[in-house]
């Protein structure tokens, strides 16, 4: 099947320049003018003295594979430095009924690039008459990130889905890291979540136990991390697609889980 190059009017086909690469994408999303070097500017902003722009992923998201699919759990807090912008953000993007993407890092970057990924997945489906695999979808996102590597993107995302190979879970980073694994947690609350899900994880968990583990992980992370909070949004990726399991407030959950705290 022919893939037609439909280039929007005015945008030239880009050749690789010294520090601007496009890894297989037909057009580059943001044309950077010649002579401008965003990565050098960003390096100057990361010195210890002077202006320091800290890119922290202020959130907690986690996902793990088990026998009955993939559990994805995220918090819902958006912070801008010390200011809490919102406690009701949706950090999971539903790409298609068989693919989910989580967001951590810069909210603008994540929302934009994951919607772009959703568009590319839809185009793939239309052109090739079959759904895109999780591996390919994560690779698309990874290549988008690599095209702007060092220029200040801040994205820590997990692509979860179920395709012909079975349940799939990939971690994709703004550095271009792309890892397949059984269990990931991203964001600045990730260490708290890791402790909980590491100790409670069993390969042959029942579905209820897995839901409970996902909720606990996010709840304990929001308890200790200032930049995570709000509600737990949990999804379960099954063979016939994902379902949204629950949306529960962490302040109620912590009362249930932390036995000795509120006596």
């Amino acid at each position: 099947m022919l893939r037609s190059h439909i280039l929007p009017g005015g945008q030239t086909h880009l050749a690789d320049r010294t520090n601007h690469f496009n890894f297989g994408l037909k057009t580059q999303e943001f044309a950077v003018p010649r002579g401008v070097d965003p990565s050098r500017f960003l390096k100057s902003c990361n010195n210890e003295e002077g202006v320091c722009i800290e890119m922290n992923h202020g959130t907690t998201t986690l996902a793990f594979k088990f026998r009955h699919g993939v559990i994805v759990a995220v918090d819902s807090r958006a912070s801008a430095g010390q200011y809490l912008a919102s406690n009701a953000v949706n950090k999971v993007i539903e790409i298609n009924p068989y693919l989910l993407g989580t967001m951590s890092g810069s909210a603008a970057d994540c929302q934009y690039w994951e919607r772009l990924l959703a568009k590319e997945c839809r185009l793939y489906r239309l052109r090739n008459n079959q759904r895109i695999s999780v591996s390919a979808a994560s690779k698309l996102l990874c290549n988008m990130m690599l095209g702007y590597r060092g220029m200040g993107l801040s994205v820590g995302s997990m692509i979860c889905g179920w395709d012909k190979e079975g349940p799939g879970l990939y971690y994709v980073d703004d550095n271009g890291t792309r890892l397949s694994g059984r269990m990931f947690s991203t964001g600045c609350g990730n260490s708290y979540a890791y402790g909980v899900i590491d100790s409670g994880y069993k390969e042959d968990m029942t579905v209820e136990e897995a839901y409970e583990l996902g909720k606990r992980g996010i709840t304990h992370a929001t308890h200790r991390d200032a930049y995570s909070g709000g509600v737990v949004n949990m999804y379960h990726m099954r063979e016939d697609g994902w379902i949204k399991v629950c949306q529960e407030d962490v302040s109620e959950l912590i009362h249930r889980y932390k036995k000795g705290m509120f006596n």
């Binding site: 890791y194 402790g195 590491d198 304990h220």
Partner: protein, 271 residues
């Protein structure tokens, strides 16, 4: 004097020494601990403002230590890895140091500083006991340590300690907090969530030990700067007791075996 110069060389500080041969006054000259004037029993920097020298590298606490209070007393647990940026300098360090029979301190930060300050604290407490005929309370011991560290504020000397049967967190930046649950070090976030789940007042000693061990184990699993073995100390009204040091490698392999067994059991079950 030797202690002061030793500290200086560790911290690479510049200071202005006056040329006169004046006494380096002990910082306790105004409270009840000093009957010794003029002898250099505690290291202290001259109070002249010296230029703060930037540290050669950012210091961080590469460790996992934790302590919590429950009905049976205080439980303290720590890993035993002593690291020097990327190198594991000592896989069998001791991070929980008993100060006297009823007082135990956990340490985090630079091991040289911690060892030194613990010994100084032990000596000061013993002197107090001899002079006043009774032991200093844990609250008082925490305050003493905090004041001893005060001259070194801003030099990133770090000691965090749990005292039993009360629990205090003391840090060289001036923090002194009383609490029921603390965890310090680079592995502390991993430990905190496990402790949050399981710690409550009514635990038995075995349950408390299990939770402490599990928390350190999970932290060592995820944190590169914590590892090797785990030490568990339990402080009660009769004094402290120490559990034999356990190598976490065994625990890791045991859990791996268990997972393999579960996996094979589940696959055979489904067929």
């Amino acid at each position: 004097m030797s202690e002061a110069t030793c500290l200086q060389s560790i911290l690479n500080l510049q200071s202005v020494w006056s040329n006169q041969d004046n006494q380096v006054t002990s910082h306790f000259s105004h409270d009840l601990f000093s009957t010794h004037s003029g002898d250099l029993s505690t290291p202290s920097l001259p109070s002249v403002s010296s230029q703060p020298v930037p540290l050669p590298f950012p210091l961080s606490h590469g460790t996992t230590t934790l302590a919590f209070i429950f009905q049976g007393g205080v439980l303290a647990a720590a890993d035993t890895r002593s690291s020097c940026s990327g190198l594991v300098a000592c896989p069998a360090a001791q991070k929980i140091l008993p100060i006297h029979s009823h007082l135990v301190g956990t340490t985090s930060g630079t091991s040289a500083d911690c060892a030194l300050w613990k010994r100084i604290l032990a000596r000061e407490l013993r002197l107090y006991q001899l002079r006043h005929g009774r032991r200093l309370s844990t609250r008082g011991a925490a305050k003493l340590l905090s004041h001893m560290l005060h001259p070194f504020k801003g030099t990133e000397l770090c000691v965090a300690s749990g005292f039993g049967p009360c629990l205090f967190y003391v840090c060289s930046d001036g923090t002194r907090l009383q609490g029921t649950l603390f965890s310090v070090g680079s592995g502390s976030p991993y430990a905190y969530s496990i402790l949050d789940q399981g710690v409550e007042w009514g635990l038995t000693v075995e349950e408390a030990t299990a939770i402490g061990r599990e928390a350190v184990y999970r932290a060592t699993h995820r944190d590169a700067y914590s590892g090797n073995c785990v030490d568990v100390y339990h402080v009660s009204s009769k004094g402290w007791t120490r559990r034999s040091r356990e190598d976490l490698k065994e625990e890791y392999y045991r859990e791996k075996e268990q997972r393999e067994k579960d996996k094979s059991r589940s696959t055979t079950g489904s067929e």
